[in-house]
Subunit: 224 residues, 2 copies
């Protein structure tokens, strides 16, 4: 476990040690510099404890730009978010250096039924979900255009909210412009203006004070 001075993360040593001691749960692996450990969009139950080397974790935005979440060095963990909430990877991991790591697989972890295990598993999955949401919100803030920031927020909320069965229209929570501003990092004035444009473009429908999304499946129509 050599120190790589470029890591941007660290986890408490005793927690890492606990994981290292569970030898029956992992197998060692190596990955060469420049190779991909996992890719955004994949599904997998595996996560990794890094022994030596350096892994870059990043999210690629729709427009191709890269949002770097972290450089993970030895004594850090990556990939556990998607391995726990069982959804698609929200980030990609590439080895910046030749890297040695321990590969864990959560596939059979729900089987244990005694003691605290079920509660811990449930709690862990929810925490992982929160981690995902935070990472995606972070990524959203890399949008410069107010319209995109708002639409990305709305699309996320649409996935959370109960859909109206008959239509493809999602009803969003009641949020004031000020709330939206405080969630997207803009001023209230900018939110008001951007919503205006979104309404005239037909991206958002307003109906007695509540927002609705038109066609919540596809992504925002960008500029052009």
């Amino acid at each position: 476990m050599t120190l790589d001075s470029r890591t941007t993360w660290a986890a408490p040593a005793e927690l890492i040690r606990t994981l290292q001691e569970a030898r029956q749960l992992y197998r060692p692996r190596k990955i060469g510099r420049g190779h991909e450990l996992y890719r955004q969009g994949e599904c997998s139950t595996k996560f990794y404890l890094i022994d030596s080397g350096l892994i870059k974790i990043s999210i690629f935005r729709e427009d191709g730009t890269e949002v770097i979440l972290e450089f993970m060095g030895s004594g850090t963990i990556c990939g556990e978010g998607a391995a726990l909430d069982r959804l698609a990877r929200f980030s990609s991991a590439v080895a910046v250096e030749d890297t040695e790591l321990l590969e864990f697989d959560t596939a059979g972890w729900s089987d244990e039924e005694q003691g605290m295990a079920p509660v811990l598993m449930a709690l862990m999955r929810i925490t992982a979900l929160k981690q995902r949401v935070l990472a995606l919100r972070l990524e959203q803030l890399f949008s410069r255009e107010p319209e995109n920031r708002i639409m990305e927020l709305f699309h996320r909320l649409a996935q959370m909210a109960p859909q109206i069965p008959e239509s493809s229209i999602a009803v969003l929570p009641q949020l004031t412009h000020e709330h939206i501003a405080a969630m997207t990092g803009m001023t209230r004035v900018t939110v008001t203006r951007a919503l205006h444009r979104l309404r005239s473009r037909g991206n958002v429908i307003q109906h007695d004070g509540r927002f609705r999304l038109a066609g919540s499946t596809e992504s925002v129509q960008k500029g052009a």
Copy 2:
């Protein structure tokens, strides 16, 4: 468990049910509208499952502005981040409505030594730590001035990195301007300019390609 249409979050129902079934782990509680459930900066081992009502989760920035993370309604969980990683609350929770919730306490949870529990606990704490880091990075992106974004990133990295014992100077990971740009949501040009200003102000020292922080304890000197 009534639906509040203003929640911006949801957790899978079966996970919530698992937690609700662990009756020995929680006690029911009520909190009146406008009252504080917990406050940023406190330490606590408690977390909450919301039964009905609405809780606003937000981070208050140094300049007093509020960053709203979520409105949590029934069937959601809050406060588990700090309850698991045992650090100070990074967010505040206020009841927007009269709210009924289940209060869990993680205080004695490390005692169990058999089966998967220790591994799950360790993994959960790391996941909680990641959640915290992501939330704080989200908050950082609400800074408009490039200098502040960079300094907040650097301060976070300084806490991760090993300090040099003799001096109060923290050595940061080797990051190119482009890396910093991809981590803070700015362009490379803006990063270059902002670093220039930070260096001339003495906030950052550059020494053969590596950044160092001067007096990493106190916060960035803002504008003025």
